[in-house]
């Protein structure tokens, strides 16, 4: 085999690898648009807020994706729906505004595609982030106390402080990162219907 022939095979195979998957994929799912819900007059999936976008980065940097997936499968060949991880399966349109769009590769913890729907109270999510065993004593999820600050309580408690007993008149206040992460987690829900994945 001549060197030019070998070089052609290499370049062609690389072109096919990227173009065949990314370019063809783009024509199929890259031009998806949000769907207008005629009942609520809102677009779905909704456009995320700036805080939610920051939360995406906190989610990635804290390594949550090492243990949690973001993709509900089913109903055939998977128990995801029966486990209550979503009301329908995930489809490409769900990832439309996610930056970066992560799916995950491990389920040491539960899938989080619908966590915003499962844990609606932001305080519960804050409590989980600070110490997961506050809500579930057997949780294997590690605590993230660095996302919170201990501040001296003034004449009255801050509204966003965690309802946990502390020493020395201090209160536990979520940082901006914690608020962003909670905003992101709350944005994760599959409670809207799409033409390709209707709610049952």
């Amino acid at each position: 085999m001549k060197s030019t022939q070998a070089l052609s095979v290499v370049l062609l195979s690389l072109l096919l690898t990227w173009a065949g998957q990314v370019a063809l994929g783009y024509f199929q799912v890259g031009k998806l648009e949000p769907i207008l819900n005629e009942e609520t007059n809102l677009k779905e999936p909704p456009t995320p807020s700036g805080l939610t976008q920051t939360g995406t980065r906190v989610f990635a940097s804290e390594g949550c994706i090492e243990c949690h997936s973001l993709s509900v499968r089913g109903p055939i060949g998977s128990a995801d729906l029966t486990r209550g991880w979503g009301e329908r399966r995930s489809v490409p349109r769900d990832y439309l505004f996610r930056e970066s769009a992560l799916v995950g590769f491990s389920r040491i913890g539960p899938d989080l595609s619908n966590i915003g729907n499962r844990m609606k109270d932001p305080q519960d999510l804050m409590m989980h982030l600070y110490n997961p065993r506050n809500l579930k004593p057997t949780s294997t999820c590690p605590p993230h106390p660095w996302l919170f600050e201990m501040k001296l309580a003034g004449s009255r408690h801050q509204s966003d402080s965690l309802p946990l007993p502390t020493k020395d008149w201090k209160q536990i206040i979520p940082t901006y990162q914690a608020k962003a992460l909670v905003a992101y987690l709350q944005s994760l829900n599959l409670n809207y219907s799409l033409p390709e994945a209707p709610l049952k």
Partner: protein, 472 residues
């Protein structure tokens, strides 16, 4: 002891720097990996002393980054810098430039580690580091890769063809793949679900079009040289190379969740995985006659022992991937520790064994040194092999049990985690053994480079060297 060929000695510092750094990164990665497994096994540890940089979410991407970019890539580049000018007969001219490239690569690894630990990873597999690190790697590769390519270009018609073909494929795939992935995934060129496709393509490219071809360069160059036998069928080898190049970038789709991907991509991934396994069998068919009847030599020569372990692990790794691609298996094992099994098979048994064997065979040639006749050689082989085997089997069994439990909605998540514990103990034991083996190798490597112990002469990998084997 023979004196090194002076014209080849200019690249010696770069290769030694890459190989010694690789050993250090390997040790660090193995230590951190054991620590992260310990956290999975005993989650209470995270509650006793919650430290952000030592958190599982930070350690896990650091370990993966260190193993792939620090240990394997750095080490393979180091041995290639020794190998390529010798098989091409064209020495490197600019030794200092190569050393600069090698230093830059280590700066990239160090920046990557500190970036992931400090600011956190990106969550993207094999691209968990910050954007400036990509630039450092690309500049470093420009220097190192250009040096290697120069040796490749001038010698196309002489010597064995297969190592050159795999080297060409790898050298082009890495920079183009990394650049494209950076553009699509972090420069905002890929919207929504296309990012997921791009992540999967990049994961395939770095594993199956960069590291596997690099390892195959060493397999097809060194095993024939060490056994004194020629590769039996060139046309079969070229066919296997073509299949590897054409379909290697499609493999990761197989294991992805079907939700965010068009279904045809996953089907294409399954076909590609099966075809790549056929190519692997073809390569196995070429390697089998080279190693047949050489058991005594394999037992005696630690370099050949590592190379043959790596060669058979290559078959096992792609066989395992083909098994995971089967429809029923794929649905059960998605999102489980079977992903770690694949990683352990590829990183520790296939690429890692080939790297170790190549270092044993090639570093003495470059440095005009031999390995001390020391039990550490044997300890390195057995500890790393048994350690890796424990990791692979532990992850495989854990993954299968995890998959079966996850697909049974009656089993709560807490119970699924408890099912993993016995396997995590086995995995942790394997990681500790592997770390101990790597420690034995590192001590041997540094003592040999510093010439602290009397050593034997280098083995004869190239015709101009004296025929003494690296024995123990």
């Amino acid at each position: 002891m023979t004196s090194p060929l002076p014209s080849f000695s200019k690249a010696s510092n770069a290769s030694v720097l890459l190989i010694t750094s690789s050993a250090v990164w390997g040790l660090l990665a193995a230590g951190l990996q054991a620590l992260s497994t310990l956290q999975l096994l005993l989650p209470v540890l995270s509650y006793i002393a919650p430290i952000q940089v030592m958190d599982y979410g930070h350690l896990s991407p650091v370990v993966n980054f260190l193993l792939v970019y620090g240990w394997i890539t750095s080490g393979l580049l180091g041995v290639l810098i020794i190998l390529v000018p010798r098989f091409s007969g064209i020495p490197f001219r600019y030794g200092r430039l190569l050393t600069g490239g090698a230093i830059l690569w280590q700066i990239g690894v160090l920046s990557g580690v500190t970036g992931i630990l400090g600011e956190g990873g990106t969550g993207i597999p094999f691209l968990s580091f910050l954007r400036p690190v990509t630039c450092i790697f690309l500049v470093s590769f420009l220097v190192l890769g250009t040096g290697i390519t120069r040796g490749l270009g001038g010698s196309w018609k002489s010597g064995p063809l297969l190592p050159r073909l795999y080297l060409l494929g790898a050298l082009i795939s890495f920079p183009l793949g990394l650049g494209t992935a950076e553009l699509l995934l972090r420069a905002g060129a890929a919207p929504g679900a296309i990012q997921i496709i791009a992540q999967l393509v990049w994961a395939s490219v770095i594993q199956h079009l960069w590291l596997t071809p690099l390892a195959l360069v060493l397999v097809f160059q060194l095993i024939p040289a060490m056994t004194g036998r020629a590769t039996p069928s060139l046309s079969l080898g070229v066919l296997a190379w073509t299949i590897t190049l054409c379909f290697g970038g499609w493999l990761s789709n197989t294991l992805a969740s079907e939700g965010p991907l068009p279904s045809w991509l996953q089907s294409a991934g399954v076909v590609a995985t099966l075809l790549l396994f056929v190519a692997t069998l073809g390569n196995g068919n070429l390697l089998q006659p080279l190693l047949e009847g050489k058991m005594e030599e394999i037992k005696r020569n630690v370099a050949l022992r590592f190379m043959s372990l790596g060669a058979w692990s290559y078959l096992a790794a792609y066989g395992w991937l083909a098994f995971l691609a089967l429809p029923g298996v794929r649905q059960t094992t998605a999102f489980t520790m079977t992903t770690n099994t694949t990683q352990a098979l590829l990183i520790f048994l296939f690429w890692g064994s080939i790297l170790s064997g190549s270092v044993y065979a090639l570093l003495p040639v470059s440095r005009n040194m031999g390995w001390p006749s020391h039990p550490a050689l044997t300890w390195h082989f057995w500890l790393t092999s048994i350690g890796a085997a424990l990791m692979v089997s532990g992850y495989a069994l854990a993954g299968i049990f995890q998959g079966l439990a996850l697909n049974d909605p009656g089993v709560p998540m807490g119970t699924v985690a408890s099912y993993l514990r016995p396997f995590l103990v086995v995995i942790l034991m394997g990681q500790i053994l592997w770390w101990a083996g790597q420690m034995a190798f590192s001590s041997l490597l540094f003592s040999s480079i510093l010439k602290l112990f009397p050593s034997t002469a280098p083995m004869a990998v190239f015709p101009s060297q004296s025929p003494i084997s690296t024995t123990r």
